[in-house]
Every structure is written in structure tokens, then in C-alpha cells.
């Protein structure tokens, strides 16, 4: 299947949102930590060293972020590519794709972690709120260890495209496509929740570029597509290559009532963001 408009909107919104939130609320923190070796069968014969934090920043446009270009292994800086070293930015880890890499290396690295983990999801709010359990992004853990990959960690924002509607707009087959994008915010404090909701509310009446899904910066192992982005990924540079814009008509934010929120996830503060997006296009051409 080829990517469709909805795929592209999801991709564009996600990339814009990540960049917007990180810059708008300075939503990131830089750490230098040890890396811990663990087994992950999905990687095959590769060797995995995990950091204690998920979702590292990979966007050079995020002010003040450190995008790792390598790790310090046994006291020597080792750039990516050595022994097939790549970074899985989503799961916060280093993967050595070559075989024969020792599992007993002393590895440290510096990287920037997003304040809010962001996820594109097709799960309903109900499932996200009622059935799912989340681990925290281990910022406050005393014993440092590698964070478990793949599971969702809070603080987090889950985004899903709720509906897409086409309505005739102009003669010649032009439609106004409206997209309702909904977000559920899980924050560790009221301050953190207010920050995200406030920044999102301020996004109304802004535009972002429609970036095709093929231009997504991350590859199979959530590593950077170095072929497409040889000098690293920069959201603004990437979006400047495209002309079609998505307009943010309206943003509604809301906090879940404390009594309800404490019933569902006692340690988290929960909020909602509803984005009404629009684009003029020719869906039948």
C-alpha cells in the first residue's frame, strides 16, 4: 500500500508536534548516563545497550538539545557506524548490529530526552485511560538501569487521528479536508500538564507543512535514516522542502477532573487536546 493523505497528515502532525512542544516549553533534559546491556530477540544477532531514558531528541532544530553522534566505550569516544553502532532514539538505546560485540563494555553517553514521550496511536481514549498501564520514564528512580523497550512510558502524549472529512470547497473538485486529531496527556505533575496544555492551546491558527511519510526521519530500528539525512535531521530544514500546508483551525484543551483522574491513574495528571486541522486539496484528481 502506498501512503495516503491520512498517513502524511499523521506523519506531519507528529513531526511538527514533537518539534513545537520541545521548543515551546523547552520540553527536554540532557543526561550523561551509563548504558546497560540486555537481550532483545527482535534485534537478531545485534547487541543492545540501553540507557535509563526513552525517546531521545533527534531533531537538531530543538534548541539546546544534544543529539548523540557516538558513545564513550571503555574511555574512548566511538562514533556511530563503528561495529554497526546505531541509536534507537525511540527506546533510548544503542544497538551494535555487528556480531561479536562484547556484552561487558563500559559505555556512557550524553543525550537529550523529551519531557513528554509522544506516541501515535490508534487506541481509543478509553483503552489508553482505562486498560493501559504505563511505566515512568525513570527520572526519579534511585537505582539506574536500562528502561524496558517498546512499553509506553509517562510523561506521555498519545495522538490519534480521530476523523477525516472531505467537504466541497470550490469548483473544479477542490475539497476542504478537515482532520480531528485528539491527544491524551499523561503528566507527572499539574505544572507539567498545564505547560503542555497551554503550549498546545497557543498552537491554534498556526500552520505546519505536509511532510510525506517517506520523509519520516526514523528507520526500522528507530535509528536515523542516514541516507535521507546524512547531516542529521532538522525539522525546519525538512519542512522547508515542502509547500503544502495544514492549517490548525482550533485547539481545545481540557484537564480531566481530579477525582476521575485519581480513580484511573492515581500518580498521573491527565489532560486532553483536540486539534481541528484543515487542508484544501483535490482528493479525486
Amino acid at each position: 500500500m502506498i501512503p495516503t493523505f491520512t498517513h502524511d497528515v499523521n506523519n506531519s502532525f507528529f513531526l511538527w508536534f514533537d518539534n513545537y512542544l520541545a521548543n515551546q516549553i523547552s520540553g527536554h533534559r540532557t543526561y550523561t548516563t551509563k548504558f546497560y546491556c540486555y537481550k532483545d530477540d527482535t534485534i537478531g544477532s545485534g547487541v543492545v545497550y540501553g540507557s535509563p531514558y526513552k525517546q531521545w531528541v533527534y531533531d537538531h532544530n530543538v534548541a539546546g538539545a544534544t543529539i548523540p553522534s557516538g558513545l564513550t566505550i571503555d574511555g574512548v569516544f566511538t562514533p556511530t557506524g563503528t561495529s554497526g553502532l546505531i541509536f534507537d532514539f525511540q527506546n533510548g538505546r544503542a544497538i551494535f548490529q555487528n556480531t561479536g560485540v562484547s556484552s561487558g563494555l563500559a559505555i556512557t553517553g550524553t543525550y537529550t530526552v523529551k519531557e513528554y514521550n509522544t506516541y501515535i496511536t490508534d487506541e481509543t481514549e478509553e483503552t489508553l485511560l482505562v486498560e493501559n498501564k504505563y511505566q515512568t520514564n525513570s527520572r526519579f528512580t534511585v537505582t539506574e538501569n536500562a528502561v524496558t523497550p517498546y512499553d509506553c512510558a509517562t510523561p506521555a502524549i498519545f495522538i490519534s487521528a480521530e476523523s477525516v472529512t472531505n467537504k466541497g470547497f470550490a469548483m473544479g473538485g477542490m475539497d476542504e479536508t478537515t482532520v480531528v486529531m485528539k491527544g491524551v496527556v499523561f503528566a507527572e505533575s499539574l505544572f507539567q500538564l498545564d505547560g503542555a496544555l497551554s503550549a498546545c492551546a497557543d498552537a491554534a491558527q498556526r500552520c505546519f507543512k505536509l511532510i510525506p511519510m517517506t520523509a519520516h526521519p526514523l528507520a526500522e530500528f528507530m535509528n536515523l535514516k542516514t541516507g535521507s539525512y546524512p547531516t542529521g535531521y532538522d525539522y525546519v530544514n525538512t519542512s522547508n522542502q515542502y509547500t503544502n500546508k495544514i492549517f490548525i483551525y482550533d485547539v481545545t484543551t481540557s484537564k480531566m477532573r481530579d477525582s476521575v483522574s485519581k480513580e484511573l491513574h492515581p500518580k498521573l495528571n491527565i489532560g486532553f487536546i483536540d486539534f481541528d486541522l484543515g487542508n484544501m486539496r483535490y482528493p479525486r484528481s
Binding site: 481509543t124 478509553e126 482505562v130 485528539k182 481545545t252 484537564k255 480531566m256 477532573r257 480513580e263 483536540d274
Partner: protein, 197 residues
Amino acid sequence: MAVTKKDIFPLLPKIVREQEYVRYVNRRIKTKVEEIKEEILKEFNNHPVTVEIEGGVSSSNISGTLNGITNLFSFIGFDSGEKPIDPIRRRIEQIAPKFRISPTGIITYTIEFPTAKDIFEITPLPWAPGRSWAKGIETGISGIGYYIKKVSNSRSGLGIQSKKPVRTGVRFQNTQYISSLINKYTKEIQKLEKLTL
């Protein structure tokens, strides 16, 4: 001799100061606006979503939005005795024309007609007051309110308490509601611009 607009315009400032004329125009406009208001209220009151929500906890799912599993009142999570429709009805009842006479003799009527956004602002979801349940009817609502009610009912003895997560098992089907109603009657109000008195 034919009477033209040129002949009428100089007389306008005098005509609009005639009480009889102003009363006549006001009556005509007010009647027309009242007719439209009555139509909106009738359509709003008879809308399956309105009827179902007004039916409270015991109503059946006549809107067909929940596959008959529960009703909108319970699904949204309203408390028994709550009247979530009243603010919308009050807002529609406030529709009325206001007029202003300019020195050149032009009477301008302004009709305070609510937008869909105005309605969304007065219809908060019980568990997330920044969100509108009326908008949710059109764009989608999650079953959190229903889940909360189920859990609290089981704690108060109205249901079985379980340690397993309580799934609502209900999927909501969006339907047209306030926006289409407002759009339809905004056009009716705009038609008044061409009303021949």
C-alpha cells in the same frame, strides 16, 4: 411621473422617525425571527440526541449512537437529575433582533444567533469540563464517563465490584447535531437580508 430611489432617499431620515413605520418594521422582523426561532427549537427538541439525553438515565438509545447498549445520558456520564440540554435551549431562546437607526435613515438589524462554538462552550463534559459533549456527539466521545459511573456504582453497591478492569464494551457512533442545525438556520437568518417589507 415614476418614483425612483433618488426620490425616496432624501425622505428616509424622516420616515424612520415615524413611530408607526418603526413599529411596523420591528414587528415584521421580530415575527420572522420568532418563526425561525420556533423552527430551530422544534427541530432541536425533536432531535433524537436531545430526546434521548432529556430522557435521563432510563431512556433508550433512540439516536442509535451506542448500538442500543446504553443511553447517551449514562454514556456521557451525567449525574441523575442533571439537565444538560437546558443551557442549549436557553441560548436558542435568547435569539432576538436588535436595531439601530443611522443618521442617514438606515435601520440596521443585528440578530444574536449562536454559533456552534458558542453552544460547545456551554456544554461541558462532566469529567473533562474543557471539552464539550455536544461537540463530542459530532466528532466522537470516549466511554470514560460511563466507565466512571460503572466503577462508582459498583462501589456504592449498585453493581459488582471486580478487581479486573471494567470495560465499557460500548463504541460510540458520531452523528450530526448542533453544527448542522446552526448552519441550516444561519442560512435562514441570512435570507432575512432580502426580506421585502
